[in-house]
């Protein structure tokens, strides 16, 4: 194992782990799958042990080498995680665990120990420029059958706002209603916006969290060039992972990055859109990359609370400690069945709120919740915040 795959700080943090197991207690995956592979504390201690064996005193004196089985276990374990970041929030020492898991993945990719699906995902994303391996020309297929769509499919040469749709919303039929809702809201607010269409490439998030940060560079470079050529002032994302990636991984200046919830919140405040009354009880599920990743907790709640007649009940764990839907961290491509269980577990907590609808602000969370509702036999409705706002537009 190469030490330089980790930062100085991360190697230091590994020694700071007290093995208290708080990360395990709160792990969204372990609580469902109950397998050693999903135990964060075993992962960090296993890594410490491998590093000590190879680079510690004994290793240096006697040329220590880790057992292949230990490395394989750690490699597999590092992908048995949704990277939701709950472990990082509850760690009493404050170890940046999410970042550590990504570095582990990075290291195991280099060692050739990452699961085969990671390689497949890399090839697909770099080849087709979207994580779902569809022809990228079909990026705006969701808009083809909508009423009143202009001939240019909302793709202009210059605009104030770029709506970055993201791969899942563009291609996954279960959530294609989200971009539809977004563009209707933008139209109603008379926003000068554009789409990139087939020129929109994957933001690189699946590659970065999959341990392929360097491979994501070409995607980032392309997207940045496109944005520069458009001269937009703002980029709006409905996908929290795209938003997170642009915010933390892209070197972009002079352009405001906004998650859709923040943009809608602004439109409501500026009275550019009016939302009708809605009688019902809803709960809000915090998407991991929006909440823990970008610190956006209150804005979506303020949008929901601005709807008269609507009652918002909180999940027993919310905001920083909010549950994970299972859809993050490339975990779905590792084990889709387990991901469904994680989602079903979340639905069981949602059911306890007795809400009619669960609102989220992420297309991937919506997909997972729909699966979870089915698996858990729940009757709760699932909506993205954009869909709710669109349906209630006055």
């Amino acid at each position: 194992m190469n030490l330089s795959d980790y930062s100085v700080k991360q190697l230091f943090e590994i020694d700071g782990c007290t093995r208290c197991g708080e990360c395990m207690h709160w792990c969204s995956v372990f609580n469902v799958v109950n397998e050693r592979l999903a135990i964060p504390v075993d992962r960090i201690c296993g890594l410490r042990s491998v590093i000590q064996k190879e680079h510690g005193l004994i290793g240096k004196l006697f040329g220590g080498k880790s057992r292949q089985s230990s490395l394989e276990f750690l490699a597999e374990s590092s992908y048995h995680c949704t990277l939701c970041g709950r472990c990082k929030v509850v760690c009493p020492v404050g170890i940046e665990l999410r970042e550590l898991w990504i570095s582990m993945r990075n290291s195991f990719v280099k060692e050739g120990l990452a699961p085969a699906s990671v390689d497949q995902m890399k090839d697909a994303t770099l080849d087709t420029h979207n994580v779902l391996n569809y022809p990228n020309e079909e990026r705006v297929i969701w808009a083809e059958f909508l009423d009143g769509v202009p001939d240019n499919f909302y793709q202009k040469e210059k605009a104030d706002v770029l709506y970055f749709v993201g791969c899942i919303s563009s291609f996954s039929p279960a959530v294609q209603s989200i971009p539809e809702a977004v563009l209707r809201i933008l139209e109603r607010a008379e926003i000068d916006f554009t789409l990139l269409g087939e020129k929109e490439w994957c933001c690189g998030f699946p590659l970065i969290v999959g341990g392929l940060k360097e491979e994501a560079e070409q995607l980032k470079k392309h997207n940045l060039e496109m944005v520069k050529s458009l001269g937009v002032k703002k980029i709006v994302f409905n996908c929290p992972s795209c938003y997170y990636t642009w915010k933390h991984e892209y070197d972009i200046q002079g352009v405001e990055l906004l998650h859709l919830t923040e943009f809608i919140h602004r439109l409501i405040k500026q009275r550019k859109i009016k939302i009708n009354k809605f009688n019902g009880v809803v709960t809000y599920h915090d998407p991991c990359d929006l909440g823990r990743g970008c610190g956006v907790y209150e804005t979506p709640r303020e949008v929901i609370r601005s709807i008269s007649g609507l009652s918002l009940v909180e999940l027993s764990q919310n905001r920083e400690r909010g549950y994970c839907c299972g859809g993050g961290g490339d975990y779905e491509m590792i084990d889709a069945k387990l991901v469904e269980k994680v989602a079903a577990n979340l639905v069981s907590f949602i059911d306890k709120t007795r809400a009619d609808i669960v609102i989220t602000a992420c297309q991937q969370c919506k997909r997972m919740l729909l699966n979870g509702v089915k698996a858990a036999g729940s009757k709760v409705g699932v909506k993205d915040i954009s869909e709710l706002v669109y349906e209630l537009l006055g």
């Binding site: 100085v8 020694d15 093995r19 075993d42 510690g56 404050g94 940046e96």
Partner: protein, 262 residues
């Protein structure tokens, strides 16, 4: 061997082993990559990395950020704010162990500064005798909670391995032998009853042991070497086991509280 010579030799040996262990750990840390603020990763030597970190640490210490540092030290480290949020029993265990240790390590400092040991056996001074026993008692309470949580009720999130077992056993032996040593001292030396009562743990145990008619002077003499050996072995063991987090975890808390700023 004379006691002072034994103390010096053991001190030298344990500190040497401690430093070797520390060097090994620091060498691993500095083997990591280092990203500069301009995001350009450069290949720099371990010693350069070390100096950069020391420089950054000084930049924080000698700035207004020191107040944030003090806040973290007081609330998160000393009072265990983050721990109590998660579990009261764990917080209590950790606080007992930490406060007990801090007490035992820091308590002798004024004694050495004031040079009291040259006047008389400093453990005959009531407040010193009481302090030692009080801190030992606090640690023992912490150990009992740790054993109860880990081995009795078996808190599900606790993953017990050899490292944890070694830590609990080592700690228990060091503290228990310390209490025993004090009781043997009370039996072996003519300590007045007035003074003896301040060593509440030692005197209670001495009361029980006094039923046996043994050569306490000789036993105390031998046991002293045994306890001192264990105490120094404990110090030497720190960089190789679980207790190393005593030094690392607070620094991780400090570093991550300035994440993005430094």
């Amino acid at each position: 061997m004379e006691k002072s010579l034994f103390l010096t030799a053991m001190g030298f040996l344990s500190i040497s082993i401690f430093l070797i262990g520390l060097y090994s750990r620091v060498s691993i840390w500095l083997g990591g990559s280092f990203v500069f603020p301009d995001e350009q990763e450069k290949v720099i030597s371990k010693i350069d990395k070390l100096f950069i970190f020391i420089k950054r640490a000084f930049n924080v210490i000698f700035s207004e950020k020191i107040f944030k540092l003090i806040e973290i030290w007081f609330f998160d480290i000393l009072l265990g704010r983050r721990l109590i949020r998660e579990s009261f029993s764990r917080w209590l265990m950790h606080t007992c162990l930490m406060m007990g240790f801090l007490g035992l390590f820091l308590y002798p400092v004024p004694i050495y500064i004031l040079g009291m040991q040259s006047e008389q056996n400093y453990k005959d001074i009531p407040w010193i005798a009481f302090g030692y026993d009080l801190f030992s008692f606090i640690i023992l309470v912490g150990i009992l909670i740790a054993i109860f949580r880990r081995f009795w009720i078996k808190v599900p999130q606790l993953r017990t391995n050899q490292e944890d077992i070694a830590a609990v056993i080592f700690l228990t032996i060091v503290v228990v032998t310390g209490v025993f040593l004090e009781s043997l001292r009370l039996l072996a030396e003519s300590v007045s009853l007035e003074t003896e009562k301040f060593s509440f743990l030692g005197s209670s145990l001495a009361g029980v042991l006094s039923f046996f008619d043994l050569n306490w002077k000789a036993i105390y003499f031998g046991f002293w070497y045994f306890h001192i050996f264990l105490a120094f072995a404990f110090i030497a063991f720190i960089p190789f086991g679980k207790f190393f987090h005593i030094f690392v975890s607070p620094v991780v808390m400090f570093i991550n509280s300035f994440e993005g700023q430094e």
